[in-house]
Symmetry: C2
Subunit: 201 residues, 2 copies
């Protein structure tokens, strides 16, 4: 869109919307027009919510979660198991586990995975702080909930080595058939793992 | 995401983002996390751009375009052909034609198409104002750039009837093979129209 069509303000809005994941230049234009059409119901509230969130969002200095308080709501929750930590790659993974109600433990967000090719080393992740938390809080179990990818597994091994001198049990998520999944569509690795780790019925 | 995970401010931001076209609940969460990660480069500027755009955007009272001035930049542009109007369904279509540099005429945005099943009648569209503009501004050509859909064509016929008493030439966009298009992938209607309306080479 040439600038003269709709003014630099709209053009800038479209350019910034296009940088959101899931939106490209075309869908950003559509989103901007949708906002303009739904001025009262959506544009106003969204602009407001962005200002509020931008001003109030903090990163939890304990676990790396994002929240409007530091320590975050999860770290402050006294009902959480004080003896276990779930290690995740990203806040998105933390949210996914919370949606599933998968654990009552607290979390530790690594901020990514080790990836030598992309220049991501141990210093770039929150691994040192994990080792510190385990030692200081008498953690008894570290649950590695990293992705089942090569980088995720490499990171899991590195963390296991880093925690070798701590007397802590290290576990990882089970591999297996996704609930609702059909065997015919699953890869061989998953099927073999599901068979190896079969449980009593 | 339960509210306790990340606080009501983030939850509200995600809910509003999910109402943008092209984003669902899952991609809205991803977009929100992306904003939080890119706080300085993206979140701040986008929140700012939304506030500015929301405050300054107007709908042009002449043509229905959105801009930060009324009449809009296009309507005020003296280089625009004063004797022709391009009728489009939406502002998105206007922008598409402007990006293509397809015309030097001014526009008239209908705001949709006639659609009896959805309860959209002539009064819901900017048709009366089109008839008025044609009469008042000595318009000589009305170019119907509506979509080549049933509703679009119905609307085109209705507009033609409404302008029957005005001495104005009514044209419509050509049907034919899209530039770069392959014949094998085109529908029969388009191919037949392209053949009928073939031009000298």
């Amino acid at each position: 869109m040439a600038e003269r069509v709709a003014g630099p303000e709209i053009e800038r809005l479209i350019q910034l919307l296009a940088r959101l994941p899931g939106l490209g230049p075309r869908s950003a234009r559509r989103a901007a027009l949708h906002l303009i059409r739904k001025r009262e119901e959506l544009f106003g509230p969204l602009a407001e919510a962005m200002q509020v969130a931008r001003e109030r969002i903090l990163v939890c200095s304990a676990c790396g979660n994002v929240d409007t308080s530091d320590p975050c709501t999860i770290c402050r929750d006294p009902r959480r198991d004080p003896a276990a930590l779930v290690v995740v790659e990203t806040v998105a993974d933390l949210w996914a586990l919370e949606r599933a109600g998968a654990t009552t433990a607290r979390y530790h967000v690594l901020g990514g995975t080790l990836s030598p090719l992309d220049g991501v080393g141990p210093k770039d992740l929150n691994i040192e702080s994990l080792v510190g938390r385990v030692a200081e809080n008498a953690i008894q179990e570290v649950i590695l909930a990293v992705n089942a990818t090569v980088d995720g597994q490499t990171t899991a091994h590195y963390i296991t080595d880093s925690l070798a001198h701590a007397s802590v049990k290290i576990t990882r998520l089970a591999h297996g058939v996704p609930v609702g999944g059909e065997l015919d569509y699953l890869d061989e690795g998953t099927l073999a793992a599901a068979m190896r780790q079969r449980t009593a019925f």
